[in-house]
């Protein structure tokens, strides 16, 4: 499905009535089956953008549309959260099942579907464990399985691997690409890691410091399936440098002001 | 004759009469009436409903949850009637009476030994009772008035429960207490208290009565039938435990049975029960004038806003009719 973000703005208002502009006039498109990374410094409004796309936050101005074919009962979006956001009182199986329950799927259907995504995310043997019994990497697999299980038109991922250690992250990124090749949904992937964004995405949307505006959209001209070897290719290095150029001054200024 | 009478009231025979009472010795006539089948003789099937305090009995009666109540008359009862909830005082259920130890005035042993011997000596003393507005409060006031004092001349200390009151006496927190048996006996036997007087010797009065709810009183036949059983039980009770000869108690033939029945219902030890069977009229007749005096006293002391005309609260016709109808053995 195609996602159209149409001149979206978001201003937070706190209890005392003070206003804080988080996003200003964001316009972007995600084509069907496209992998778009959203990159920007801390606090620029990435999570806010994803929240609005997921219908978890009201926009102040503008709108988000979804366009295209949709199957019966298929949800528009499903989200993978940075902090995993698994339900501690549910086993792995029941966490993965959650979205299906809410969609009202029949028990057998749920069971079958859960089994498929547990297998796809390499969680076999952990079905009856609780989240606190799993390592970070395993937890985020549960988060991904939960999101994929509802078969969303668009998968929203908010820094899904940033709480993982470097080795696990590298391996999980590869796996996610593998899963995506099979599942073929559109993905909006929020990150602040440039390498990660370039390695995974078809296009990288670079946001400015708060209030977030679109600085640039960088297309990544690398063949798929991607592999570690491509990180040395000029297209890769070029994209990376171009993005770092856009970001660097922003990040330094932010740090100086104590925001990062 | 009893069988005949019972046969005349088959219409009501099935319906139970709910009687609210305390599980105390003073309810002995009711226990006897139930246990010996005196009520049944008159086609009444009483159902005893036990309470732990007098107030809920009056409430339950006023709301029609009970047909009959049998407990002490307190300011609360009068105020309920004053508040517009009609009920009728119909019969005697216990009196403070000379020669029948019930409520005792107990003073600290030390004070007694130090020469406190008369009611007049209580002036300025702290006197423990259960609650303000209780029968004990009334009683204390009247006893004091006998020697020209008033409640204002002593410090009345409300301690709510009887164990608390006796504890306060023992701990010398109060100088005297006014409590019913077995508490005075216990205080004396433990040595920290001395029974100064039995209050009934100083001021006889109608301490407890039987009341009818408005609804039950309106069912004249049943109300009278109930009263017949009650009168019969009262006589039995009187003859068994209240008869005195030359100022001494003269236990009747059924004394032990009454003790046994009372013990069964109150679950108290027989020794304790023997300490105090309250006096009650042999035919259950009320001291009507005393009711009026009580209301006047409560009103004077600020516990009632005004008195109730006697005919608005007392109805002796049931007990009179019953006393005539029940033949002597």
């Amino acid at each position: 499905m195609r996602v159209i973000v149409d001149r979206l703005s978001k201003t937070y208002r706190d209890r005392t009535g003070r206003e804080l502009a988080a996003l200003v006039d964001i316009a972007l498109r995600v084509e069907p089956e496209e992998f778009v990374a959203v990159l920007g410094p801390s606090g620029c409004g990435k999570s806010t953008l994803l929240g609005i796309m997921a219908g978890l936050l009201p926009a102040t101005a503008g709108q988000v549309f979804f366009e295209g074919e949709r199957r019966d009962g298929q949800p528009l979006t499903a989200t993978v959260f940075q902090e995993f956001a698994l339900f501690p009182w549910r086993s792995v199986r029941r966490n993965v099942e959650f979205g299906l329950e809410e969609l009202g799927a029949a028990p057998e259907e749920r069971k079958e579907c859960v089994a498929r995504f547990i297998a796809m995310t390499g969680l076999e043997g952990f079905e009856d464990k609780f989240p606190h019994q799993l390592s970070g990497g395993m937890r985020q697999r549960v988060g991904i399985a939960r999101a994929l299980a509802v078969d969303p038109a668009v998968l929203l991922m908010d820094e899904p691997f940033s709480a993982l250690d470097a080795q696990t992250r590298t391996l999980m990124m590869e796996e996610l690409l593998g899963i995506w090749e099979r599942a073929r949904t559109s993905i909006v992937y929020v990150t602040h890691n440039i390498q990660e964004a370039v390695y995974m995405a078809d296009r990288v949307v670079v946001l400015s410091r708060r209030p977030g505006r679109v600085l640039d959209v960088v297309p990544i001209e690398l063949k798929r399936p991607r592999h570690e070897g491509q990180m040395g290719e000029p297209a890769f290095v070029h994209a990376q440098e171009r993005i770092w150029g856009l970001i660097k001054t922003q990040a330094q200024a932010a740090l100086r002001e104590g925001r990062a | 004759a009893a069988a005949v009478l019972a046969g005349t009231a088959p219409a009501h025979a099935q319906q139970k009469v709910k009687v609210g009472a305390l599980k105390l010795t003073s309810s002995a006539p009711l226990f006897i009436g139930v246990e010996k089948g005196f009520f049944k003789e008159f086609g009444i099937e009483p159902e005893l409903v036990f309470f732990q305090a007098a107030a809920p009995i009056a409430t339950a009666l006023a709301t029609g949850q009970l047909d009959v109540g049998a407990t002490g008359v307190t300011a609360a009862l009068y105020n309920i009637v004053l508040g517009g909830e009609q009920m009728w005082i119909v019969a005697d259920k216990g009196r403070e009476w000379p020669g029948y130890p019930l409520t005792g005035i107990v003073v600290q042993r030390d004070l007694y030994d130090g020469g406190l011997r008369g009611i007049g000596d209580l002036k300025g003393k702290r006197i423990g009772i259960t609650t303000l507005g209780s029968t004990f409060h009334y009683h204390l006031g009247n006893v004091l008035e006998k020697v020209g004092l008033s409640l204002a001349d002593v410090r009345v200390v409300p301690l709510q429960t009887m164990p608390a009151a006796i504890e306060a006496l023992k701990g010398k927190q109060v100088d005297a207490i006014l409590l019913p048996q077995p508490f005075p006996g216990v205080a004396e036997s433990q040595g920290f208290g001395k029974i100064l007087f039995w209050a009934g010797d100083l001021h006889p009065w109608q301490i407890a009565t039987v009341f009818y709810s408005k609804k039950f009183a309106a069912e004249r036949r049943r109300a009278v039938d109930f009263m017949r059983g009650y009168v019969k039980a009262s006589r039995y009770y009187y003859d068994a435990v209240l008869v005195q000869k030359d100022g001494k108690r003269a236990p009747g033939a059924d004394y032990d049975e009454v003790v046994r029945i009372t013990a069964k219902y109150t679950e108290a030890r027989p020794e304790v029960i023997r300490l105090g069977f309250p006096f009650q009229d042999r035919n259950g007749r009320l001291l009507v004038t005393d009711i009026e005096r009580q209301m006047q006293w409560w009103t004077q002391n600020g516990f009632m806003k005004r008195t109730i005309p006697l005919k608005g609260i007392v109805d002796t016709s049931f007990v009179e009719e019953a006393a005539k109808a029940v033949p002597e053995k």
Binding site: I52, P58, A59 | G83
Partner: protein, 266 residues
């Protein structure tokens, strides 16, 4: 709804937002009074059992005018404050100790569970024996009542303290008392405040029991005495005053909480 189409995203989390509804807050209480008045008007409940608000207000006014009300109020407030302070303090202390020290836990928890259900009224004779019939025994009844909710809630709060913060404190050289004072107690504050709210209610509730002991003034005495002589209007005045005190203490505690736990309310 299969097929091609254009769908705008809906805000699905709208039901999570919590506006303040200040007006409703007042309306609720006003509503209570209206329902009460209606009940008495319709006559379902005899005036004896539930006097009308108007009657109660009149009586309240009279009692205030005669100064009687303030005598009662003053006497009760003293007892409440002392009892609340003593019971609350002891409850927090015991809750912290049993929550923190496993030995204290082993000793304290069974004792608390065993002594909590002992009816306070059954303890009155012992209290009179040990503390007399003056103020101490009255304060003790209230303190006892406040103690249990405070101890139980504080315990739960302590057991929930973040172990990471405890370890951090120890890493910086904190001993057990420092840990308790600087980590455990602040962590448990939200639960302690829930306990305080419960305790305040319980204290008011127990005022009646406390003033069973040889009191001749106080709101509890008023309620008790009016109940004993079935003067239901006065009884209602006492209950209304207790309710108002309950509201007041709830509100005061909510304010205190906002001040004492600033890191959770922004």
């Amino acid at each position: 709804m299969s097929g091609s189409s254009r769908v705008a995203v809906q805000d699905r989390a709208a039901f999570l937002r919590r506006p303040e509804h200040r007006l409703l807050r007042v309306a609720a209480l006003a509503g209570l009074v209206v329902v009460w008045e209606a009940l008495t008007r319709v006559g379902w409940i005899p005036a004896l059992f539930l006097p009308s608000p108007v009657g109660v207000l009149t009586e309240l006014g009279e009692m205030a005018a005669s100064g009687q009300l303030f005598v009662h109020l003053g006497a009760s407030l003293r007892r409440l404050l002392l009892g609340f302070a003593a019971g609350g303090g002891a409850g927090v202390a015991v809750g912290v100790m049993t929550g923190f020290f496993s030995r204290a836990d082993a000793v304290g928890q069974p004792l608390i569970a065993a002594t909590f259900p002992i009816p306070k009224i059954a303890l009155l004779p012992l209290l009179i024996l040990w503390l007399g019939i003056g103020e101490p025994s009255k304060v003790a009844v209230i303190a006892l009542g406040v103690f249990f909710p405070m101890a139980i809630n504080t315990y739960a709060g302590v057991r929930e303290a973040d172990p990471l913060l405890v370890r951090a404190a120890v890493a910086f050289g904190a001993g057990r008392w420092s840990v308790i004072r600087k980590v455990i107690v602040p962590s448990a504050l939200p639960m302690i405040f829930a306990g305080l709210k419960l305790g305040a209610g319980t204290a008011l509730l127990l005022l009646v029991a406390a003033e069973m002991i040889a009191a001749d003034s106080g709101i509890g005495f008023l309620v008790l005495h009016a109940g004993n002589i079935m003067d239901t209007t006065k009884l209602m005045v006492g209950i209304v005053v207790l309710s108002l005190l309950g509201l007041l203490s709830h509100w005061a505690l909510a304010c205190c909480e906002r001040l004492a736990v600033p890191w959770r309310h922004t």
